[in-house]
Amino acid sequence: MDYIDPHIHMVSRTTDDYATLARMGCVAMSEPAFWAGYDRGSVDGFRDYFRQLTETEPARAAQYGIQHYTWLCINAKEAENVELSREVIKMIPEFLQRPNVLGIGEIGLNKNTKNEATIFAEHVDLAVTHQELILIHTPHLEDKYQGTRMILDMLCDDSRVTPDRVLVDHVEEHTIKEVLDRGFWAGMTLYPVTKCTPQRAVDMIEMTGGERLMANSAGDWGPSKPTAVPDLIFEMRRRGLSESLIKKVVYDNPLEFFGKSKRFKFQPRQ
């Protein structure tokens, strides 16, 4: 089955992974900007990173017939440096018209601090000012519930934000309902230890019906599996769920959400 991975960090993967993903049916992906494994020291470090996301990775993906899209921001972990964050936010519009940019992300909170919340709000302002989609990172483990609620508070208080144009990622059993009930899109990240297994993700699909819901692999520096979405497809089939529901979650929903960006020019496989 053709599928789309809506959140995968290919800068941290080998070219072999692109080949494997293509063989597994991945036809498109979106790569949010994130932490590089170290704190970058200058705005030029981010400028180079955004070139990697908008030039290098689309070219690597295209070699295997995968359409690569991306999101731009300074991530929550580095947002503690408010001065650098503001320089990066000011620089982002240089890249917003590049053809594979879908919007601003993954913005959010990490340890739910004042500086993170300040920079999150400034990213949201950038997104709405430029009429861009937003992709949200929610914190991990014990910080997830509190951080998700804080993020939803900020989004819902801003009358300029349209929930239908925001994807809230890394939802789990205790956060998914509020995200969907408030009209946002939700993403489940299939990550071995700190997030969600394919089995639990399918439980959430069964409980919610799969409306405005996606699944992604994250595929980053940590212990993660870039082919986790095919694992989810396999688990859904194993449980006897319909092909139409599987396709909705792994293909139709990402297409519908990404399609809200004027730069999303996906070409389905013929």
Binding site: K144, R149, E173, H174, R200, E206, M207, R239, G240, L241
Partner: protein, 91 residues
């Protein structure tokens, strides 16, 4: 939306997998007890050991929302007044 699998099928399908996970938990707690036989747990470790015990109690309880309740057990509390704490205004 009900799952296509029946409850009987799920139990049959998952029995060995869940049994193995329960054994892993039991063996880990046994290991903790053996290691702490000669010295008591630190406050932090005792707090975490207690959190595991509370998690086990949730698993053993009735209801169809155990996973969500377990998640909440291991979550920091949401503070509705966080903006005032941070000195941030609502939009």
């Amino acid at each position: 939306m009900p799952a296509p699998q029946t409850a009987d099928e799920i139990v049959a399908d998952k029995f060995l997998e869940v049994r193995a996970k329960l054994l892993e938990i039991a063996a880990t707690l046994d290991r903790v007890d053996r290691a702490s036989a000669d010295s008591s747990l630190s406050d932090e470790a005792a707090h975490r050991r207690d959190a595991l015990q509370k998690g086990i109690e949730i698993i053993a309880s009735e209801g169809s929302d155990r996973a969500a309740r377990l998640q909440m057990l291991y979550s920091r509390e949401y503070q509705p007044g966080w903006r005032e704490t941070f000195g941030m205004k609502s939009s």
